[in-house]
């Protein structure tokens, strides 16, 4: 065991600029917002159909090198918004090399609620996608084992969708 006292090299602490992301991934229709505080996550919105390509680039490219999938979840904007913007699949990424945090919101149409799996890039996506399938009914195309995770296999419905009703007894 050893104590690690080394701090990240100055070169690698270079921040990822919103403009860099915008310019590099223009072909994927990304929208990047300026973070309010420097320590905030960089927020990137992308159409669901382009999400896999963007995420693979963010994970692989030297500029970002987002090797860690910190979290993957869903935000349901509710049945009252246009169905093309209802579901946001949220990927929180972290790059140790850059000490930078990114958050990608992939917009998914409520009609088919389908997006490609990211298990090929981050094994940790396996359970996270199963959970999103379980609680939100989102389908992850190409997932090796897409079945319920937290709920009973016989349960019907997607309880974290805003239009799912809670049972009266609850």
């Amino acid at each position: 065991m050893s104590d690690d006292a080394s701090s990240p090299a100055p070169e690698s602490s270079r921040r990822i600029e919103p403009n860099t992301i915008r310019a590099r991934h223009r072909d994927l229709d990304v929208e990047v917002s300026q973070p309010a505080r420097p320590e905030d996550e960089l927020r990137i919105v992308v159409p669901g159909a382009n999400a896999r390509r963007l995420l693979e680039r963010l994970a692989g490219e030297d500029e970002t090198a987002a090797r860690r999938l910190v979290d993957l979840t869903v935000i349901d904007r509710g049945p009252e918004v246009p169905r093309a913007r209802r579901f946001e699949i949220v990927y929180r990424l972290h790059s140790s090399a850059r000490q930078a945090a990114l958050r990608v919101h992939a917009l998914v149409d409520a009609e088919d609620a389908t997006i490609e799996t990211m298990t090929g890039v981050w094994p940790a996506a396996g359970w996270l996608e199963r959970e999103a399938f379980d609680l939100f009914g989102i389908h992850f195309k190409g997932h090796p084992d897409l079945r319920r995770l937290l709920l009973d296999p016989a349960f019907e419905g997607a309880p974290l969708r805003k239009d799912s009703r809670r049972s009266e007894s609850a």
């Binding site: 945090a101 958050r103 940790a124 974290l160």
Partner: protein, 388 residues
Amino acid sequence: MTADAETGESLSARLGFPETAVEVGFAHPAVRHVMTGVGGSASFLVHLDDDRITELEVDIGLGHRGFERECEDTDWASALPYVSRLGFASGVMAETAWCLALESLAGIALPDRAIWGRMLVNELARIADHFARLGAVMQAIGLSEGALAAQRGEAVAMLTLAAATGDAPLAGFVVPGGVARGLEGELVDDWAERRALIDAELVAFDRIAVANPTVVRRLRGVAELSADDAIAWGVTGPALRASGAPVDLRRDRPYLAYGALDFDVPVGERGDDLDRLLVVVEEIRQSLRMVDQIHKLLVSLGPGESRAGAADSLVLAEGEGVASVEASTGELGFLLASDGDGPPRRVRCRAPSFFHAQALPAMLVGARLDDLLPTAALLHIVGAECDR
């Protein structure tokens, strides 16, 4: 391995035995010992060749209580008691992450006493939690003397935590805008005494377990996890550091006032059970060092405001508030989506135990059945946050 090197045939096949599958958990007392005793636990379906694990399926969800939906169906202020119950001692860490995310949405600045008070309970909770893990792993390998030392350490740390919060660990001590009360009463005067008690248990544990060649032989090389695999599976906290990755949010992205503290980040080399044990023991020492510094500063601050008045009526911006803390289990974080007014749009808890439970098969295939429980204990899997 028991498989024949040339034919690849398993020992069971050669001897004419069927391969065995056993279910471990969810209510078996041993499993309850390694999982923190709140909110449910996992069950393990273990496929065996002789006593070697050939396949492991981790089944979670028994303790699922719809935590996130429950929070989304209430208002922001009422969700806190649910948050406190994501852990036992570590409940205050979940409260801290929740409040930091909420305060970033509400634009609330914290008074100094709140910042340092939160760090105080976070580190005390880490000491209690780490001792609990050490107790669980000692129980799992059958060294009851070591388990007793660790449990005594946990008890002293819990009492100290209760002295700081003024109540039981689930007191809702960390609240939006600050902490429920400042440092007062006995802890001001008797921290040195309490620290000596915790030190004594740590020394006892060192003597009984860490310096014990049997423990070293029992845990060395068990369930190795490389740093790359740990990162790929989203493993965080002491388990990631034991694999050799010096990642600690308190140092890398300092929240509260961790940037002002002097502490080391211990790392392991092989990422096996022994390294995980050693990292946990060293982290108790580092947390004690931190509490010394925090206590000194809090005493020098004296009595005064420990909660921002602005938090009495929360006005939230529209958007997402995100915060993570280095909990005793690993990176514990919240993503809170707000519509501005109305109930929470989305409450998402990033629970380290969830990731650790998922990573278990990658570590344990090829290990012995006996290695399952000590490894689960050292990965800090808490049922309440894993299942939510």
